[in-house]
Structure formats: structure tokens, C-alpha cells
């Protein structure tokens, strides 16, 4: 694992929004720090699971990496190259070089496919953009992609509305794979699917990773699927990374009190479960009024005075377990 340099290296990534009505009638507002000083890295063949509750900034992190939103600060290195300036400069050959190797799979495949295009047209789009000189190979590649995700070649002539959710998500994955990426960002790829279909897609993702040697950034609030898919897990709370470690370490020995509460909050499908329960008081505060010190301290069962005043830094122990907590478990 440590032989190659990281596939993706995110350093101090931040995305802040100013809120309040803009324009002719300006009003006072505030700043939402949707993503705040987030750093992590990911190697070839690894899957980093990025978890947290809604509004914790996990999706904004992913969108910032792809420049779907413009980050406020920080750097993103992909295969060693600092990509954010390239996106910002917008020189088309450079942007395409990165886009072809860094792809995104969306949460809801019903929304992520152009309803007016056949599956073939949808899959042809990346080829048209990235392989303009290999026109003769397009059709064969489309057939190959459909096979890769478990669909039939004749599905190319169908429209998205003729498919079930699971099949549409297969198409979404095929599109992302079209131009041989190295890294896929998977944003809740199974949460909109029926429960009996989820396992198929999760298995598909794992087999594709093994076959194609991909890196995955897997974003989800469904911790069970994270445990299945990921090799590493990063936990976010209010725009901050609070804990990050290898998957089994996080699930077996969580150290941040938020991670512990999050894990214990998930009901286990076993009526005799003796799962320890750590009840959290209150709700996640508004990102506009983020508490001073550790952002989690108002809800933390182990908060001390220092937690209210000093914001803990993310520090790594000798086992590579990274943690931002003054008083870890």
C-alpha cells in the first residue's frame, strides 16, 4: 500500500459560503464553513469512506475536489498534480486530462441521466469528448462498458425511464468508467435504491475496483455499507474531519466521541443486540452558529473546559489513527 504515492491528496480544503440576501437590498448575514480545513489522502486501490450526517460537508468536499463548487482554500493533488489551479485556469486539454481520470457517480441515477438520451448516447458523450480521434472504437467500447456493469449490449438503445433504479445506477457507473478513470467519487451510490438491490451494486463496485485497480472516495451516511466497501474511513462533523483510520479500527475501536455516538445510534438488525447506547443530546447546531472550541463540545458526553475554548487539531498516532479530540475514549 505504501509503495506508490497517494492517488489523491487533499490538503486544508475549505469551502465557505456567505449567506444573507444579496444584491440590490443587501442585508447582513454570516459565513457558513461548509468544509473547513479538511486534509486526507487516498492511495491506488484503496477506498476512503467519508461519513457524517447531513450538512457535515461530505458532499461539498467531493464537489470541491471536482471543482463543481469553487473551494475557498486548500490544495487537491491528483496523481501528484495540483488540480484546482488547472480547473480554475480552464485550459481545455489540461482539464480534460484530469476529468478523464477523476470521475463522479451520483446519488440518484434517475436524476443523473439525461432523460432525453438513450443509454448509448449517454455513454457516447464521454467518448466523444475524450476520444475524438477513436471514433471507430466508440461502439465497441459502449458494448464493453455495458458488459462491465452487467447490462446487455441492446440496452444501449433504451431510455433511462425504461430501467429500474439499480439498472440506472449501473449505467451511471458505466458512464463514469467510460474513459478509464483512476479514481471514482461515489456519492451515496446506493441510498436511493431498493434494499434488495443495494447488495448487487455494492458487489459490483467492489469487483470493479479489484478488476480495474481503481481508487474510491465513498461518501455515505449508511455506515454498514461503508464498512463493506471501505478500506479507510473519515468522519466529518460540521465541516471538520474529526477522526480517520483504517476501517476495522474505526468500527472496532472508535475514539472520537462523535464517532462512537454515531456508531451506537445505528440500530443493528438483531433484536437481542446488546449494542452499547450513547445517546446524544440535542441536534447538530446550525453551521452559521458553529460553537467555539471543539465544534462537538455542546453535545459531547466527555467535554471538558478545554474543549469549549481550544479547537482540537487532527493528530495522528503511531498506528496511523488520526483524531481531533482533547479527551479521546
Amino acid at each position: 500500500m505504501s509503495t506508490a504515492g497517494p492517488l489523491l491528496q487533499v490538503e486544508k480544503l475549505s469551502k465557505h459560503y456567505s449567506v444573507g440576501s444579496r444584491g440590490l437590498f443587501r442585508r447582513s448575514g454570516g459565513t457558513i464553513r461548509a468544509v473547513d480545513d479538511v486534509s486526507f489522502h487516498l492511495r491506488v486501490g484503496e477506498t476512503l469512506g467519508l461519513v457524517g450526517e447531513s450538512g457535515c460537508g461530505k458532499t461539498t468536499t467531493a464537489r470541491s475536489i471536482l471543482h463543481l463548487v469553487q473551494p475557498t482554500g486548500g490544495t487537491v493533488r491528483f496523481e501528484g498534480e495540483d488540480i484546482l489551479p488547472v480547473f480554475a485556469a480552464g485550459a481545455r486539454p489540461d482539464v480534460l486530462r484530469i476529468r478523464s481520470r477523476l470521475q463522479y457517480v451520483f446519488q440518484d441515477p434517475t436524476l443523473a441521466l439525461n432523460p432525453r438520451w438513450t443509454i448509448g448516447e449517454t455513454l457516447r458523450e464521454p467518448l466523444r469528448i475524450h476520444w475524438p480521434g477513436r471514433r471507430d472504437q466508440w461502439e465497441a467500447r459502449i458494448a464493453e462498458l455495458l458488459g462491465l456493469v452487467g447490462l446487455e449490449p441492446q440496452h444501449a438503445w433504451r431510455y433511462p425511464h425504461e430501467f429500474s433504479g439499480g439498472q440506472r445506477q449501473r449505467v451511471g457507473i458505466a458512464r463514469a468508467l467510460a474513459v478509464e478513470p483512476r479514481l471514482l467519487i461515489l456519492d451515496e451510490p446506493v441510498s436511493s435504491l431498493d434494499i434488495s438491490v443495494r447488495a448487487q451494486i455494492l458487489n459490483l463496485l467492489v469487483s470493479l475496483q479489484q478488476r480495474l485497480g481503481l481508487g474510491y472516495l465513498y461518501i455515505s451516511h449508511d455506515l454498514a455499507s461503508v464498512r463493506f466497501v471501505s478500506s479507510h474511513v473519515a468522519v466529518m462533523y460540521l465541516g471538520k474531519l474529526v477522526e480517520m483510520a483504517e476501517v476495522d479500527a474505526i468500527f472496532a475501536r472508535p475514539r472520537h466521541h462523535y464517532t462512537r455516538a454515531l456508531l451506537s445510534a445505528i440500530p443493528v438488525p438483531d433484536p437481542d443486540s446488546t449494542q452499547p447506547r450513547i445517546a446524544l443530546q440535542g441536534e447538530v447546531p446550525s453551521a452559521l452558529r458553529r460553537p467555539a472550541g471543539c465544534p462537538f463540545h455542546p453535545r459531547c458526553p466527555a467535554a471538558r473546559t478545554v474543549c469549549r475554548e481550544v479547537e482540537p487539531r487532527l493528530e495522528e498516532d503511531e498506528f496511523g489513527h488520526r483524531l481531533a479530540c482533547h479527551n479521546p475514549a
Binding site: R22, G23, L24, L66, L68, R92, V95, L96, R99, S100, Q103, Y104, F106, Q107, D108, L111, A112, L113, N114, P115, R116, T118, G120, E125, P126, I129, H130, E139, A140, I142, A143, E144, G147, L148, P153, Q154, A156, W157, R158, Y159, H161, E162, G172, R175, A178, V179, E180, L212
Partner: protein
């Protein structure tokens, strides 16, 4: 990647229904929509074939000379003659091309302006969006009809003595242009909403991730998906424009050289008591045309926005 060279795609099976064909299937089941389509086709057909359908020359006033003005319907004049001695049926048939020209012309202008302004506002967003939408709101709230009357009247005086005076049907063209220029705000608002929604749609973000150009995104992804909602508004707008022209003409501000239903009402309203057919026939023609476009729009909403019914 797979070592084996995969087979190329097989030939397409029977052409599967696309979104337009799907829409047509749904449209066909809407009785109202089909009636609307029938009415609209009827108007179009009449407009194209009026020289062959009309029993008399629409400019023929000879009945007046024979003392046959305001004659009740007869075999010679199926809908009677009006107070100027014209054959009512012929004038009504010849009114169809004028009505369509007004409706289509005005909505062509309105759609162009509306889609461009609304599209820019929705796609670019920010301050530009706010400014453009205030502008649209302004146009939406001013008493359009009142302003149009004044402009038609005053413009008629302004052009006297300029080369513009010689343009054929200048008055009608002015009305079309005005209806177009004042008719864009609803289209712009819808276009803005659609562009804004589609800009954030996941399949558009997917296209960005793939590296599609802005042009591709606007023309291949956003515009085609925004069209169904806009077409509904355009269909409604055509009916509205036909009605507006009829009202302008009814008040006597129409084009004296054009044959229009509103003009017929204007000339014959005084004789309503003695020759009601002169007013009823063009009135019914306006009604059927407007109804046709309204029903068509209703059917299109049903066909393309099925989530509204279900």
C-alpha cells in the same frame, strides 16, 4: 481492461419510444388536448387553403352596390353579408392567416427574447439574474394593453413622412412586434426557473464532470429539457396574442388594410342588432382559435409534466 475484443453494438431493435414519442402517447389519451390539436389544425388548414375555400373575394363589396349589405345567411352568402357588403364567410376564412401570423409572429419574438433573457438569468445567476428578473417583473406588471394602444396610435403618426410608411401592413407588423416585446416576461420567468433547475440537475453536473463544454451543456442538455415547459407557455401565448390583436382591432386601432376578425367586429358591432352574423362569426372564430391553443397547451402540460397528474 478486458483482453477480449468485445463485439460491437448489435443493430438497434425496433426503435424504442423516446421522450417525444412518449409524450405523444400520453397526449393522445387527453381528450381535451386532442380536441385542441384538431382546432389548431383546422385553423392552420383554413389559413393555408382560404383562397380555395372562400366563396367570394374577401375584398368584394359589390353586394353593397346591389343593396345587399347586411343580408341574412343564404346559399350565396352562407354566413350573410356585413354592413360593408362583404361576404362574412370569406372574410372569416381570410382572417385565419392574419390571426396565425399575429400569434406565431408575436410568440416567435416573445420566445426568442424570453428564452435568451430568462436563460441568461437562470444560468448566470447572481446580480445579473436579479436585475433581469426585476426588469421582467416590471414588464409583467405594467398595463400592457393600454400602452400598446397608445404606441400603435402614436407610432402611426410618427412614421408619417418616413420611409417606414411604405412598408406593407406596417400597422399589423407594429402590433405583432409590440405583442412580442410585451409578451416575453412569462416565458423568461419559466425559462429562468427551468435553466436554474437544470443547471443544478445532476445529469448536467455529470456532463461537467465528463468535461462537456458550456455550449454542449446549454444546447444539448439544458435547452432540450427546458423546451416542454416552454412550449406549453408558447401555445398559451399564441392564443393570447390572437385575442390581444382582436381587442386592439376591435377598438379601431387595427390595420385597416388587413382582414382580421377584430376588425370585422369593429366594423360590424354597430350593426349588431340588425346583422348579428357579422359580429357572431368572427367572434366564434376567435373563440375557437383561442380555445384550440388553450386546450393544446393543457394537453401538452399533461403529456410532458406527467408528475402533475398521476
Amino acid at each position: 481492461m478486458d483482453a477480449a475484443i468485445p463485439a460491437p453494438l448489435p443493430a438497434p431493435p425496433v426503435k424504442p419510444p423516446g421522450i417525444w414519442r412518449q409524450g405523444w402517447y400520453r397526449f393522445r389519451r387527453n381528450r381535451g388536448g386532442m380536441v385542441g390539436l384538431g382546432l389548431v389544425l383546422l385553423v392552420v388548414l383554413v389559413a393555408l387553403a382560404c383562397p380555395f375555400l372562400a366563396p367570394h373575394d374577401p375584398g368584394d363589396q359589390s353586394a353593397m352596390l346591389r343593396g345587399g349589405a347586411r343580408a341574412a345567411p343564404s346559399w350565396l352568402h352562407p354566413l350573410g353579408t356585413d354592413r360593408m357588403g362583404y361576404d362574412v364567410l370569406s372574410r372569416v376564412l381570410y382572417g385565419a392567416p392574419t390571426a396565425l401570423a399575429v400569434g406565431l409572429g408575436a410568440m416567435a419574438i416573445a420566445s426568442l427574447v424570453g428564452i435568451v433573457i430568462g436563460g441568461i438569468a437562470g444560468y448566470v445567476g447572481g446580480l445579473l439574474d436579479e436585475v433581469l428578473m426585476r426588469f421582467a417583473e416590471f414588464f409583467l406588471v405594467i398595463p400592457v394593453f393600454v400602452v400598446i394602444l397608445a404606441v400603435v396610435r402614436l407610432f402611426g403618426i410618427i412614421v408619417v413622412g418616413t420611409p417606414l410608411e411604405k412598408v406593407p401592413h406596417l400597422n399589423l407588423l407594429t402590433i405583432i412586434a409590440l405583442l412580442g416585446l410585451f409578451g416575453w416576461p412569462p416565458i423568461a420567468r419559466m425559462a429562468r426557473a427551468e435553466f436554474l433547475r437544470l443547471k443544478q440537475a445532476e445529469f448536467v453536473e455529470a456532463a461537467i464532470c465528463i468535461g462537456a463544454t458550456k455550449r454542449d451543456i446549454l444546447l444539448r442538455h439544458i435547452l432540450p429539457n427546458a423546451l416542454p415547459s416552454l412550449i406549453v407557455l408558447v401555445a398559451l401565448g399564441i392564443g393570447g396574442a390572437v385575442l390581444a390583436e382582436a381587442m386592439v382591432s376591435f377598438l379601431g386601432f387595427g390595420d385597416p388594410k388587413a382582414i382580421s376578425w377584430g376588425q370585422m367586429l369593429y366594423f360590424n358591432y354597430e350593426a349588431l342588432k340588425v346583422a348579428p352574423w357579422g359580429s357572431l362569426a368572427p367572434g366564434v372564430a376567435i373563440f375557437l382559435t383561442v380555445l384550440g391553443f388553450n386546450l393544446l397547451a393543457d394537453g401538452l402540460t399533461d403529456a410532458f409534466n406527467p408528475r402533475l397528474r398521476q
